[in-house]
């Protein structure tokens, strides 16, 4: 089979109505000994039919943010403050029963490990049927029919409805999970490192398929990964997260060509190129901080090449004052004391 699609969406027309808006979201992991602020004051909106990428290093809070949007945080995690607005309505205050309906129907999620998302002792078809019938009054036969259509949508023979998860390859399992996430036609699909465990060719196949489906069906995507070069190809807009905060956000091409935050610059310079001259790269000195005790002021300052004492006034702000995410150009936001429009 050949995968091909013609549309390469630059960005959805104009600034569309947001599907979801995060307002000053704060998520903590509260244990007896300490509190980890994994998401610290994040504001982000995702428009209908838009692919928004969220990139950052391990432990910076990406999954916590995704889980908060999906409303599947479990203790010790808690939303300490802020709002998650779906169609203008705050879902943080919703009751359990309401949330159960909200999940899958309005927003669904694809995790890194498909194996964890699937029941190993149940045929894939039955898993679709259970999920669909938990939300809609349809006959088993009709649900199975729809499951078959969904499998074909992601390029899997519908006869595989009879297969158990272990009988499928890793790439096929991940596609089954994507098909399941699309079953109730949600407006938003959150994908948390959905291809990280897969080989690059399989990853490519799945990314092309996600893009194809998204163009066809029009759902919005929040795509979470540590692989920035992947996002630059897939996403319309990219947000960079560091130590619980979004520190830069811009349309993908702009972020690639005109990154402004020193961390984004460092991250882009951490991927050796596949083409062109091989120059010695520097990466970023130091290591990501421990969120139980984040650095003061700008959280990136201990690793930032621009944090010198040359300018005393600036230095005082870098170590003492948290930079806010500010608009510096159309659709481009940066949180850095040195960056102005």
């Amino acid at each position: 089979m050949t995968l091909a699609f013609s549309v390469t969406p630059d960005a959805p027309a104009e600034r569309v109505t947001p599907v979801v808006e995060l307002e000053n979201l704060v998520v903590d992991y509260v244990t007896r000994t300490r509190t980890i602020r994994a998401v610290d004051g994040v504001s982000l909106s995702i428009g209908a039919g838009e692919i928004v990428g969220l990139a950052g290093e391990s432990g910076c809070g990406k999954s916590t943010l995704g889980n908060a949007v999906m409303q599947i945080l479990r203790p010790p995690a808690q939303i300490t403050s802020g709002r998650v607005l779906f169609g203008g309505e705050n879902v943080v205050e919703r009751r359990r029963e309401e949330l159960r309906k909200f999940r899958w129907r309005n927003v669904s999620m694809v995790f890194q490990s498909a194996m964890n998302a699937l029941n190993p002792v149940m045929r894939t078809g039955d898993q679709f049927v259970d999920m669909i019938r938990a939300h809609e009054r349809v006959s088993k036969h009709d649900a199975l029919e729809r499951a078959g259509d969904l499998l074909e949508l992601v390029g899997i023979d519908r006869r595989r409805l009879r297969a158990y998860p272990h009988e499928l390859s890793g790439g096929m399992r991940q596609r089954v999970v994507i098909a399941m996430a699309l079953a109730l036609r949600p407006e938003l699909v959150i994908m948390d490192e959905p291809t990280t465990a897969l080989d690059v060719v399989v990853q490519r196949e799945i990314l092309q398929q996600i893009r194809e489906l998204q163009t066809e069906l029009g759902f919005a995507v929040l795509f979470i990964t540590h692989d920035l070069s992947l996002l630059l190809e897939l996403a319309h807009r990219v947000a960079i997260m560091y130590a619980g905060e979004i520190i830069e956000e811009a349309p993908a091409a702009r972020l690639r060509d005109e990154p402004r935050h020193p961390y984004t610059v460092g991250l882009l310079g951490s991927f050796p190129p596949l083409h062109g001259p091989v120059e010695r790269l520097t990466g970023i000195p130091g290591a990501p901080p421990d969120l139980a005790a984040p650095p003061s002021g700008c959280r990136f300052h201990p690793r930032c090449p621009h944090c010198t004492r040359d300018d005393q006034a600036l230095y005082a702000r870098q170590i003492g004052e948290r930079p806010l995410l500010r608009v510096i150009a159309d659709e481009h936001r940066v949180a850095c004391h040195r960056v102005t429009a």
Binding site: A4, V200, V201, S229, L234, F271, P272, L274, R280, L281
Partner: protein, 332 residues
Amino acid sequence: MTAILEVRGLSRQFRSGGLLRPSRLHAVDDVTFALRPGRITALAGESGSGKSTVARLLLRLLTPSSGEVLFAGRNVARDRRRRDVLRYRKHVQMIFQDPFGSLNPAKTVRAHLERPLRIHGIAGRRDAKARVDTLLETVGLVPVASIADKYPHELSGGQRQRVAIARALAANPKVVIADEPISMLDVSIRIGILNLMRDLKELEIAFLYVTHDLASARYVADDILVMYAGQIVEQGPVDEVLANPLHPYTRLLIASVPDGERNLEPIEIRKGTAAAAVDPAPGCRFVDRCPLAIAVCRQTTPELVEAEPGRIARCHVTAPRQREDVHAQPAA
């Protein structure tokens, strides 16, 4: 430069399938290559293609089903005596993927590095301290004094991997094999480890860098070996192979890598089971996924052929057999 480690026709099979229908998995099949001092050779390929099995065969953690591993001209593949294996291992060291699992949580950095010095009789108690300090400096763990007495949990992932590298270097090895040494590290600190590998070339070590990440292979390595379903399908200088790949699988692999530039331009990906090395039938193992396949591809297994000087591939179409295949000639 002459090779320090030469691998000839290396193969390893595993039993698979059940008792009723036993089959053989050709995890590594007729692999031939050479490692030279001061050069980094990348071993790339998809999951299950046999990379780690090659690494374990070279380390003598596994015994080959057939083939030779020549270290400084002597075949070590059939060594049975512990003493021989130990002597060989002094020269051939390993760096693992997981910098957490490969260190002992109860031992300090210094203890980790002193152990190989003692086992291989390299330094007495007095010299050991100085040698450890030098090693730490070599791998960029400075200030040495503050690192040496720390325990693994007090170090970051990147620092732990540096300790693992220092430990591998402790016995002055001739060959170092690193199996996916950066894949578990944070993106921003991977480059530091890659830079270290580049710098270590000065020590005249022959490096085998096992990876599935082509961009990092291009960054550190001189040569590349591409594996598919247990076989090497292409080898050559890394920049040439990646700029102008011969084998259709190498081409697919390169086209699949996101590089942040191409905006997911669709590429053709054919279905087919990867790594079909269970009881392989004659013919090319890539045939079901190959856009260039011709009739002969299903009938005869392609040999490795030098299609251009230094450029070797296993493909009837892009590297057709002309005079003799490369393995008919003795390795240089």
